[in-house]
C-alpha cells in the first residue's frame, strides 16, 4: 500500500499489507494475521530445502546489488565447524530510501520471522539486526518484537519447541551512512570504526568476527516467510517482464510528487504508470523533470528514460540507471538540477569514511566545484574537471561510496548540461527554490 496513503488498486501489497495496523506490531496481532506459521514450517524442513525454495523463487537482494538470495545462502557451507552469522542490514541510510523503516515500524515480527528462517537456513545460531542509529521508532519496535518472541519461546535455545537455537540481537548503529556497506557494517558491529574491508575475503568466508556471515537486507528477509508459505512458483510468477526479476518490490517515493510514500508493486511494473498514476504525478502547475530511481547513488534518469522504464533490476539498467534500494526521488521543473546534485555530493563528502584517497579527496573536491557552479562562480573548465575527477573516482576504491558520489554528478552533467552551463554563464533559469539546497 502506498503508506500513508490508501492502497492503490494497481499495487500488490505483500509486505506492506499490514502497514497502518497498530495491532500487527504485537505478537498476538501478528499471529492473528498468520504470523510465525512460516517459521514453524521452516523448522520442520531441512535447511538445504529452504535454500532451494528461495533459490527457486528467484528472490534477489533488495538492498541494491540484486544478488540472488538463495545463491548467497548456499555459500554458507554447513558443518565447517565454525559459527555462522546472519546480519540483517537495517542501516537504511540512502537518501530518499525509507522502505525498511516502514517494514520495521509496522511489521517487526515479519522481519523477526524472516531473520529466524534465514538463520536456520544458513546454520547461523546468532543473528544481528543492525539498525541505523537515527531510526528511533523502528529500533523500539524491533526491540519489543524480539523481546516478545523470546518471551513466547519463538527465539532462544529452544526455538518454537524444536530444540534448535536461534538468537537475534538488535544492534544500534551510531549514525554513519557507510555502515550500510556490508563490510563496514561488520566492522561497526565488532565495535570498530566503520571502515569497509578489502574483499576478498568475502563475508561468506570471513565476515563478522572472522566467521562465515551472510548479510541480507530487511526487505529481502521479510519476503522469505511469504515465499515459504505460498511457494517458490507463486513468487516467481510475480514478474511482468524479465524472469530474472521476481516478486514484489517496495519503493519509497519522495520529492516533488503528489503522494510521497511507500509503495509495493510487482517486478516489471511500468515506471510511467507508477509515477503518474500510483503516486499521483506532479504537483499542480509543475512538470516532472528527472527521477533518481534507486536512492542517491544511482544515475539520474531524465523523464524520457524514466517513462520508458519497466521497474525491475534489468529494466532500470536498460534506461541508464539502477534499481538500487528503490528510493525514488522525484525532481520537477521548479528545481535546479545543479542544486540537487550539489546537495547529493555534499552528502557523500560528509559520509565518506576517508580511507581511500580517491573518495576522501574526490568527494570533497567534487562538492566544492559543484557548489561553486551552483553559486554562479563556476567555469567551463570546471565541468571537464568534474567529469575527470568522477572517472578517477569510479572503480578504484575499496567500496562503492566513491563511485556513488561520481554517479549523480557525471550523469547529471551528461543529461542536464545546459543547466550547468547557464549557471556558469550567469543566467538564472530557475525559481527561488533553487537557492534552497
Amino acid at each position: 500500500m502506498g503508506f500513508p496513503h490508501p492502497s492503490h488498486p494497481r499495487e500488490t501489497p505483500l509486505l506492506t499489507r499490514h502497514f497502518g495496523e497498530p495491532e500487527a506490531r504485537t505478537l498476538d496481532g501478528w499471529k492473528k494475521r498468520g504470523g510465525y506459521q512460516a517459521l514453524e514450517k521452516a523448522l520442520a524442513m531441512k535447511p538445504a530445502e529452504i535454500v532451494d525454495i528461495v533459490k527457486e523463487s528467484g528472490l534477489r537482494g533488495r538492498g541494491g546489488a540484486g544478488f540472488p538470495t538463495g545463491l548467497k545462502w548456499s555459500f554458507m557451507k554447513p558443518g565447517d565447524g565454525k559459527p555462522h552469522y546472519l546480519c540483517c542490514n537495517a542501516d537504511e541510510s540512502e537518501p530518499g530510501t525509507f522502505k525498511d523503516r516502514e517494514v520495521m515500524r509496522w511489521t517487526p515480527h515479519g522481519l523477526v520471522e524472516g531473520c529466524a528462517i534465514g538463520a536456520y537456513a544458513i546454520g547461523a545460531e546468532t543473528t544481528y539486526i543492525y539498525i541505523r542509529g537515527e531510526f528511533t521508532e523502528p529500533l523500539l519496535r524491533m526491540d519489543r518484537a524480539v523481546r516478545e518472541a523470546y518471551d513466547a519461546g519463538i527465539l532462544g535455545a529452544n526455538a518454537m519447541g524444536t530444540g534448535k537455537r536461534i538468537d537475534i540481537h538488535v544492534h544500534k548503529g551510531a549514525g554513519a551512512y557507510i555502515c550500510g556497506e556490508e563490510t563496514a557494517l561488520m566492522e561497526s558491529l565488532e565495535g570498530r570504526r566503520g571502515n569497509p574491508r578489502i574483499k576478498p575475503p568475502f563475508p561468506a568466508v570471513s565476515g563478522v568476527f572472522g566467521q562465515p556471515t551472510t548479510i541480507n537486507n530487511v526487505e529481502t528477509l521479510a519476503a522469505v516467510p511469504e515465499i515459504l508459505m505460498k511457494g517458490a512458483a507463486w513468487y516467481k510468477a510475480m514478474s511482468l517482464s524479465n524472469p530474472k526479476s521476481t516478486g514484489t518490490k517496495l519503493y519509497s517515493v519522495c520529492g516533488n510528487i503528489r503522494r510521497p510514500g511507500t509503495y509495493e508493486v510487482v517486478m516489471g511494473f511500468p515506471f510511467k504508470d507508477f509515477l503518474h498514476e500510483v503516486c499521483g504525478g506532479a504537483l499542480d502547475g509543475r512538470k516532472l523533470k528527472a527521477v533518481i530511481p534507486g536512492g542517491a547513488s544511482v544515475p539520474i534518469q531524465t523523464m524520457e528514460e524514466a517513462e520508458a522504464t519497466l521497474m525491475d533490476y534489468e529494466g532500470f539498467v536498460a534506461q541508464g540507471s539502477m534499481l538500487g534500494s528503490g528510493g525514488v526521488i522525484v525532481i520537477d521543473d521548479a528545481q535546479s538540477m545543479v542544486a540537487v546534485i550539489a546537495r547529493l555530493a555534499r552528502f557523500f563528502a560528509h559520509e565518506s569514511c576517508g580511507q581511500c584517497t580517491q573518495c576522501r579527496e574526490g568527494t570533497a573536491w567534487t562538492t566544492k566545484i559543484v557548489e561553486r557552479i551552483r553559486d554562479g562562480y563556476g567555469t567551463m573548465e570546471d565541468l571537464d574537471t568534474l567529469v575527470e575527477i568522477g572517472e578517477n573516482m569510479t572503480g578504484t576504491t575499496i567500496c562503492v561510496l566513491s563511485d556513488s558520489c561520481a554517479v549523480p554528478v557525471m550523469s547529471g552533467i551528461r543529461k542536464f548540461r545546459s543547466e550547468f552551463e547557464s549557471l556558469i554563464h550567469g543566467k538564472r533559469v530557475h525559481s527561488v527554490l533553487s537557492a534552497v539546497a
Binding site: 578489502i198 584517497t357 573536491w365
Partner: protein, 522 residues
Amino acid sequence: MAEKKMVSLTIEGRPVTVPDGTSILEAAKVAGILIPHYCYHPGLPVAGVCRMCLVEVEKAPKLAASCATSVAEGQVVHVHSERALEARKGVLEFLLINHPLDCPICDQSGECELQDYTYQEGRADSRYRDPKRFNPVEDFGGDVLYVPNRCILCTRCVRFMDDVAHETVLNVSERGDRALIGKFEGKDLTHPWSGNVVDLCPVGALLSKDFLNKARAWELDRVASICPSCSQGCNITIETRDSQVARLKPRPNEDVNKFFMCDYGRLNYRWMNRTDRAELPLVRTEGVLRSIDWDVAIHAAASLLHDARTFVLASPMLSNEALHLLSRIMQRNGGAGAFRVATGEEAPLAGVEDLALRRDRAANVNGAQMFGFQRSERPLESMRDGDVLVIADDDLTGIGADELARASQVIVIGTTLPDAASGASVLLPIANFSEEEGTFTNLRGRVQRFMQARPAPGLARPSWLVLGDLLGALGEQDSFYLPSDVFARIASSYPAFSGLSYESLGMRGLPVLDSETAGAAR
C-alpha cells in the same frame, strides 16, 4: 617443511615465479619492478587504502590494488599501461590537492615518496582552485611531531602502533576529508619504539623533533652500520652531514631488526660527534705527557709491555678485531682482561620476535666474552699489583686514580684521556665506532659489519691498526693492512668464526657456529 606451492605469472612482460599467496606488489619487486605505493609496508598488515598501487590485470574488470591482490597462475599484469598510469595520476592529483607544497621547508623533502612518485608519474599542474585544508601542528609526544597538512592518511603509523608495538596510541580521527591522525585521550607516543613511525611515514607528516630543520636529505652521506647502543645489533644507516653524525636510521634486516630500531638507539649518537677527543699520541717524558710520532709512541708502549704481566680493561664497544688483538697481547704476556657493561631496562618490540632494546647497553658484550674478557661490575679487582694496565677505551667513570695506582704502568688506548688516567705513561688515540670499520657479535652470536662514517680527529688511528702495530712492535709476525686481514686471522684462530670473512658476512651478517658444529668446516 612442506614445499610451498609456486605460482608463475608475467609482470610487465617479465616472467616471475613466486610462492602462492604473494601479493602482486611483492612479486613485482622480484621481477625488478617497483609499483608505486604509500600505505603498503612489508612490516605492517595490509590496509589497501592509498590506492596508489593500482595495476591492470588482464581479464579483470577493474584495476587491482597490487598490495592486496594475490598472484594467480598465468596472470598477466601491466604496471605501466595507460589505464594504470591514468589511475595513479588521478590518485597523485587527489593526494596533492590538500597537500601544502612546502617542500622547501619540509624535512622529508628529498626522501619523500609523494615527491618521488609525483615526479615519476604525476601531473605537472593542479586543477584545484579552492583553499587547502588546514590543521595545526601537533606534538605527539616522544620524539614525534605531527604535521597534519602534509598527511596522506596512509595509516602506516596507526598500524605500527597497533599491530607491531601493540600499544594503541594513534587513530584516524574524523572521517572523509576532515580525517586526520589523532591520539587517544591521555596517550602519547612514549613507547620506546615509537620513533619508527617517523621512518614509516612516506611524507613529511611525522617528523623527528631531534632532526627537525637540521639537514636536507640530499646533504647527508649515508653509511651502513650497526647500532652500538645495545647488544641487539640492529642494522642501521649512519647519516652524516659535513662529517657530523646527524641521525641514525634503521636498515632492514629480516634476521635481526626487520625494519625497526628503538628510540634509545636512534637518539644515542651525540657521543660520536664529541670534540674533547684524544687526537695525538702522547708519551710521558720527564714526568710530562708530550705528543710524539706514532712510531715512537707505539715502541714506547711496546717497551712497557715487553716482559710485563698485562691486565686489559676493555670496552664492550670495541670491535671484534680490536678485542682479538688485545686478547693476543694478554695471552702473550700472561695477563688477564675484564670489561664492564652499562645496563638498563629491557624494552621489547612486542610484534617482532626476539627484538628488544636489551639490558646490556653495549654493542659487543658477546664478542668481549668470546675473546676471553671477564665481565665484572668491578673489573679492576682481578688486576694484580704491579701489572701493566692497558685501558682500552673504558672511560673510567666511577674509577678513581687510586685504583689505577696498583698498576706499575698505565697505557691508555682510547678515544679520550680520562682524568683518572692522567698519570698514564702512554696514550694511543684511536678512532671511535663511527670512524672505523669492524665487526660486532650480537647477543645471538651474529657477526655483523659496520663501516666508517666519518674521519677520526687529529692523528687518531683505527683501533685495529694501532693494536696491530703494537703487536708487531712486540715481535709478533702478523701484519695487518686492512680490518679484513684481522678478521681473517680471527676466522683462522677461533673455531666459532671458521669460514667467516668480510665477504661472506656481507652487510647483513652471519651467526657464529655454536660449540658443537664449530669443529666441522662451514
